[in-house]
């Protein structure tokens, strides 16, 4: 399966099957569903970043004639700890509940406290004013340093740091510590001729999906309740809502609407459980949406981080030791991606001695959510900046330094497994010979490059393919499509069945109409759901052969199937797929293929990015002149969408590096909660994003696929950071490289 082969459909640039609806405005997203009898929900949000709720009185709101129902934390049936240990339960369920509706404390400005459902949106907003809340305001804790210092106000009185060498003796704001090691770090540094040691920091940033959270729900006593929402994982929404509301899975149907961006931020629940409670109490369907401001104030951003990195190398460039201490802001509740950060930080390097320590720290900001390779951009930013500094000190080309120490097949990772075949070297070589790297750098410009790694996951996917009597069919899958994956499913099924992709209609079914599918995340969809599609299609091929055999009165072993046609090996008879389907009634009924799998063997994806920038020395403003994203896709099923993932990740990373950050007042109020002052890159800010798809196949997937969605956001932070540093001739250790910060650096140097 790993050799290059000729494909009929794989590798083509088909038109995506859901495209017509998307370019005409017909596609229905989260806020687009209205149901007869629907009422509107609205949420009361905390005006304080940190406070105890001393009293909460909703009676006046409940009594108002326009109000149908009110919801608070008290409406969550008591969560049974044993019950949630079963099935797809998560340990953070209590935290999820208190994040969705605060229990005894509010832990960030904008934290949801209560909700009302009323006849109109305006009436619901007005009714919020009738809810009486009293607070005991506490000091807000807004940075890692403030959170971990002695005497810091505690967010959770019973938070005892997990993972310490000695058990914690007192509560703190550190939820967890983690340690990973390989070899002997002290010996590693002793063997070094040169050491680079630096501290870095990255800000809180948001995934920036253009579609705010929204939901329309209808509670139903007599059948499954219905939740319509834009989500990356509707089965996960079902599980969480079931656990929070003490319902059985079969009592809830979640319909995944089209989704206007997620990037990890739509893998949890905010409005859905609240809306369902309001629907249950009112007996009416309920619609709720988040404003853009709410999205910034109250949905989960990506963790801010502080990292200390120390790297030792011999003068010939052999890296002998890599060490890091990483602190991540979890927001109001535990659970930053500190773990993946620790695991990925040094994985692009085959180095014997490594030591990484990580800390998960709570602060009075919204509870962090996943953002594209969660934890990795922050950590690998620090590592790649330090490696580039090392290259500079050694007088070595940064690609050559990485080639000398590159992770490859057999490299022992710090987190346990040995790498199988991977494409880092191929990416580095492609970078070296790329037109971008070969080009002369513009005068007064700076150049930077960086590598990146993300593991990718497999997991559970379930697929059915039904064929119609005329040979057309549907692919019933359950992976919400966040970037065009339905096109790839169509192509993979078409490749196996030997038919034209447009004859197969891929559908993302709701939780009632397809078996469990793990959340669209972890770059799993083309890999794992693709694998299930392939298996389901192969199941059909087996059935087609058996049906043809019956029609020809031979055994299935005497039937071959190629390019959509079954061949009778003992004669010259042949039947197309459509012909076999036309006779399906006679041979036992209609044909459905299926596969419910837990995909293993996800191949990691490595990337290398190149960036040229110019910095205006009088204003500190950075222009990105040229950008190239090189990444290993294993096998690009649909090259346009693979390139699109590279480009999208690169631009999010460029924004993270240059202008994006949450700005907080001393009171813990976010001051830039909108797209005006939370500055994501615009079309005019960017050049073309050149892409090079490297293909080092993943032998565990029938077509060699590696997930590509996430790795692309990892290299840009250090590619841009290094380019800026090169342009101004000064170290960069803090993101974003916003103009005031750069100007200050430039002027201090004089």
């Amino acid at each position: 399966m790993s050799e290059a082969r000729e494909y009929q459909h794989i590798g083509q640039r088909t038109i995506r099957p859901d495209g017509f609806d998307k370019v005409t405005g017909k596609a229905n997203y989260g806020a687009d569903l209205s149901i007869p009898g629907m009422i509107w929900g609205a949420i009361l949000r905390s005006p304080h970043a940190h406070a105890k709720i001393t009293s909460l009185d909703v009676s006046e709101a409940e009594a108002h004639p326009d109000v149908f129902a009110v919801a608070t934390y008290q409406d969550f049936p008591s969560v049974n700890a044993e019950a949630v240990a079963a099935g797809t339960a998560r340990k953070d369920l209590f935290d999820t509940a208190a994040n969705v509706l605060a229990d005894t404390k509010v832990l960030y400005h904008g934290h949801a406290i209560a909700a009302v459902a009323a006849r109109t949106e305006a009436a619901a907003q007005a009714a919020l004013e009738l809810i009486q809340v009293a607070y005991e305001v506490l000091d807000p804790v807004l940075t890692i340093d403030a959170a971990i210092k002695d005497g810091a106000a505690l967010l959770h009185d019973n938070m005892m740091t997990q993972g310490l060498l000695e058990p914690a003796s007192a509560a703190s704001n550190i939820a967890a510590r983690m340690e990973l090691k390989k070899g002997d770090i002290d010996l590693g540094f002793e063997a070094a001729d040169i050491i680079v040691e630096r501290s870095y920091e990255t800000p809180t940033v948001h995934q920036g999906y253009i579609e705010p959270h929204a939901t329309t729900v209808r509670f139903d006593d007599n059948g499954p309740s219905m939740i319509w929402c834009p989500t990356q994982g509707h089965f996960d929404v079902r599980a969480r809502v079931a656990q929070l509301l003490n319902m059985e899975l079969g009592q809830i149907k979640v319909v995944a609407s089209e989704i206007g961006g997620g990037f990890g931020g739509k893998t949890t629940v905010y409005l859905e459980p609240v809306a369902l409670i309001l629907s249950k109490k009112s007996g009416r369907p309920v619609k709720m949406t988040m404003s853009r401001e709410d999205v910034f104030r109250a949905s989960g951003p990506a963790s801010a981080s502080q990292s200390k990195v120390k790297i030792g190398a011999k003068s010939d460039g052999t890296i002998t030791a890599m060490q890091a201490s990483l602190h991540y802001e979890a927001g109001a509740f535990k659970g930053s991606p500190m773990g993946p950060g620790c695991m990925t930080i040094f994985t692009p390097y085959d180095v014997e001695n490594m030591y990484v320590e990580g800390f998960d720290v709570v602060v009075n900001k919204p509870k962090a959510a996943a953002y594209r390779a969660p934890g990795a951009p922050q950590a690998e930013f620090a590592a790649e900046m330090a490696v580039n500094e090392l290259a500079s000190k050694l007088g070595m080309d940064p690609i050559d330094l990485r080639l000398k120490n590159a992770a490859k097949e057999g490299t022992q990772t710090i987190y346990g497994p040995k790498l199988k075949t991977v494409g880092l070297e191929a990416c580095l070589l492609a970078a070296k010979s790329s037109p971008h790297y070969q080009s002369t750098l513009q005068e007064n410009a700076g150049r930077g490059l960086a590598a990146g790694f993300w593991f990718n996951i497999g997991g559970q996917s379930s697929v059915m393919i039904h064929l119609n009597p005329d040979g057309t069919g549907s692919i019933i899958e359950g992976s919400p499509d966040i970037g065009g994956s339905r096109a790839s499913m169509q192509m993979m099924a078409a490749e196996v069945l030997g038919v034209s992709p447009s004859t197969l209609n891929p559908i993302v079914a709701d939780t009632e109409h397809v078996a469990y599918n793990q959340t669209t995340g972890g770059s799993r969809t083309t890999f794992a759901t693709g694998m299930a599609v392939i298996e389901a299609a192969e199941d059909i091929v087996d059935q087609l052969k058996a049906r043809a055999a019956e029609l020809w009165n031979v055994t299935p072993e005497q039937v071959d199937y190629k390019n959509g046609v079954a061949y009778n090996l003992s004669s010259d008879e042949r039947l197309s797929l459509a012909e076999i389907c036309a006779k399906a009634e006679k041979t036992g009924g209609q044909i459905t293929g299926r596969a419910n799998i837990n995909a293993r063997g996800a191949g990691p994806s490595f990337a290398v990015h190149l960036c040229d920038v110019q910095v205006d020395p009088e204003t500190g403003k950075t222009d990105v002149l040229r950008y190239t994203a090189i990444q290993d896709a294993g096998k690009a099923i649909h090259p346009s969408y693979v390139e699109g993932q590279f480009q999208g990740g690169a631009v999010q990373g460029i924004g993270w590096a240059l202008n994006e950050e949450y700005v907080y007042s001393a009171d813990g109020v976010m001051e830039n909660a909108g797209f005006l002052d939370y500055r994501i890159p615009l079309a005019s800010d960017l050049p073309e994003i050149e892409t090079i798809i490297v293909e080092v196949p993943n032998s565990f997937h029938p077509f060699g696929v590696r997930g590509v969605g996430e790795t692309g956001i990892v290299p840009p932070l250090a590619a841009v950071g290094t380019a800026v540093s090169d342009a101004i001739g000064l170290p960069i250790t803090s993101l974003p490289c916003s103009p005031p910060k750069l100007l200050e650096l430039i002027m201090k140097r004089g």
């Binding site: 640039r13 038109i15 995506r16 017509f20 370019v23 209205s34 253009i210 949406t289 797209f675 005006l676």
Partner: protein, 158 residues
């Protein structure tokens, strides 16, 4: 007390009721039932709600519904002709200029406005004209390629 508004949307005479404080975006989506125009921010910073109002490209979240009285509004739903896609829509599909698609209606309306005003934009002109349409998925690269290709085709075919 709601106001009665008579307007023309995508060439059709339309009447609706709205509060004076409702935006045109709200009226389109909730009163007229045209949900193709999207709300991304409600404050004119993302362009997802772009429509044409009396020939000008605007954010419908910054127009009052009552201002549509006697006006002509064009939305994404009016771009294709029944099932025949506009060249711009075809090029967006061909170039994979959309991933999640939420910004796409706004971008297509804006691109049509761009090419009506300037049939031969440079890439830089296109990027600046479309700067008010935020996209978080694509990094804009394939969008601009689709726009430039559509411009070429439209100039040749007219």
């Amino acid at each position: 007390m709601k106001t009665h508004v008579s307007t023309v949307v995508n060439g059709d005479a339309v009447e609706f009721l709205c509060s004076p404080s409702d935006t045109l975006l709200h009226a389109l989506r909730n009163e007229i039932g045209l949900t193709g125009t999207k709300e991304g921010c409600g404050s004119g910073d993302c362009g997802a709600c772009s429509v044409m109002l009396d020939g000008a490209l605007v954010c419908s979240c910054l127009v009052l519904g009552v201002e549509a009285q006697g006006s002509q509004v064009e939305t994404i739903e009016g771009i294709a002709h029944q099932d025949k896609l506009h060249v711009i829509q075809e090029k967006f599909l061909e170039h994979a200029a959309l991933q999640c698609g939420i910004c796409t209606p706004g971008l297509i309306v804006s691109t049509k406005a761009l090419l009506e005003e300037n049939p031969a934009p440079t890439e830089e002109e296109a990027r600046y004209y479309l700067a008010g349409n935020l996209c978080r998925c694509t990094g804009y690269d394939k969008i601009i390629k689709a726009v430039m290709d559509a411009a070429d085709v439209m100039r040749q075919g007219a």
